[in-house]
Symmetry: C2
Subunit: 114 residues, 2 copies
DNA sequence: CCCCTATATTAGCGTTTACTAATATTTAGT
DNA sequence: ACTAAATATTAGTAAACGCTAATATAGGGG
C-alpha cells in the first residue's frame, strides 16, 4: 500500500488543496450543507421556499420558540442563505437567492430514494 | 401579529408536518446535509467522486489520520452516501449512488456564487 | 410619553460531535 | 502458525452546538 500512491491520487489531493478555485473552498461549501443539516433550519428553509415570512409565522409553522428561531435565522443570514427586510414592526425573511433553491430542490428530489 | 396566521400559513405547517410523504422526512433529508456539512467528510466525498479509493489513499489525499477517516467512512456508509467493497486486504469505498452525485454537483456548481 | 408587540441578544447548561491514542480484527505472505 | 499490513473499534476528552430563560432593543399606537 505504502508505495502505490500514484500520480492520479496526487492530482486528487492537489485538486482538493486548490479547491478555492473550483469551488468556494471545501470549508465554505460544507458550511452551507451544515446549515441545512439541522432539522429546524431545514424546516425554516422549506417554509421560506413557499414565500416570504415574518419571524412570528416561522415560529408558528415550525413549532419552535422565538429565541431559538431567531438564532437560527441569524446563522442562516450570516451564511447568506436567507435575507431579511424590515417592514415596520416586523422583519420579513426570504431565501437569499436562486442557488439555494436549486441546491435544496435537487436534494429533495433525490432524498426520497435515499 | 397574533391574529394573522392565515390558511396559507396553516398549509405550510401541515406540509412540513407531513413531510414524510413528499420528502423522506425533514429529519432524514437534513441528515444527508449534515453528513456533507463536515469539511473532512466533504473532502472524502469530493475525492470519491473521482473514483473508488481505499482507506489508505483517502487518508493520504485528505491528510486525515486513519482512525478519524475510518470513523467518518462508517458514518457515511451508515447514511448510505458511500458504499464499501472488500478487495483482499483492503476496503474500497465509492459513492453509493447517482443521487449523491447530483446533490453534490448542484451544490458545488452554485457554491461558487454564494 | 408610556405601553405593547416583534425581534434580537446574552448567559448558562446539557448534548452531540470529532479528534487522539490505544487496541482489536482481518487478511496476505512466508 | 507467525508476522506485518490494512482497517475497524473503543474510550476519553475538548470543542461546538442548540436549547431555554431572561433581558435588551426598536417601532407603532394610544
Amino acid at each position: 500500500m505504502v508505495s502505490c500512491f500514484t500520480e492520479k491520487h496526487e492530482n486528487i489531493k492537489l485538486k482538493l488543496a486548490n479547491s478555492e478555485e473550483y469551488i468556494g473552498g471545501v470549508e465554505s461549501a460544507s458550511k452551507i450543507f451544515a446549515m441545512l443539516g439541522e432539522p429546524v433550519r431545514m424546516k425554516i428553509i422549506l417554509a421560506l421556499m413557499e414565500g416570504e415570512l415574518c419571524v412570528y409565522h416561522i415560529c408558528e409553522i415550525t413549532g419552535g420558540k422565538q429565541s431559538a428561531i431567531s438564532q437560527h435565522l441569524r446563522k442562516l443570514k450570516d451564511s447568506h442563505i436567507v435575507k431579511a427586510r424590515k417592514d415596520g414592526n416586523q422583519v420579513l425573511y426570504s431565501i437569499a437567492d436562486d442557488h439555494i433553491f436549486s441546491i435544496v430542490k435537487t436534494a429533495l428530489e433525490h432524498s426520497k430514494c435515499l
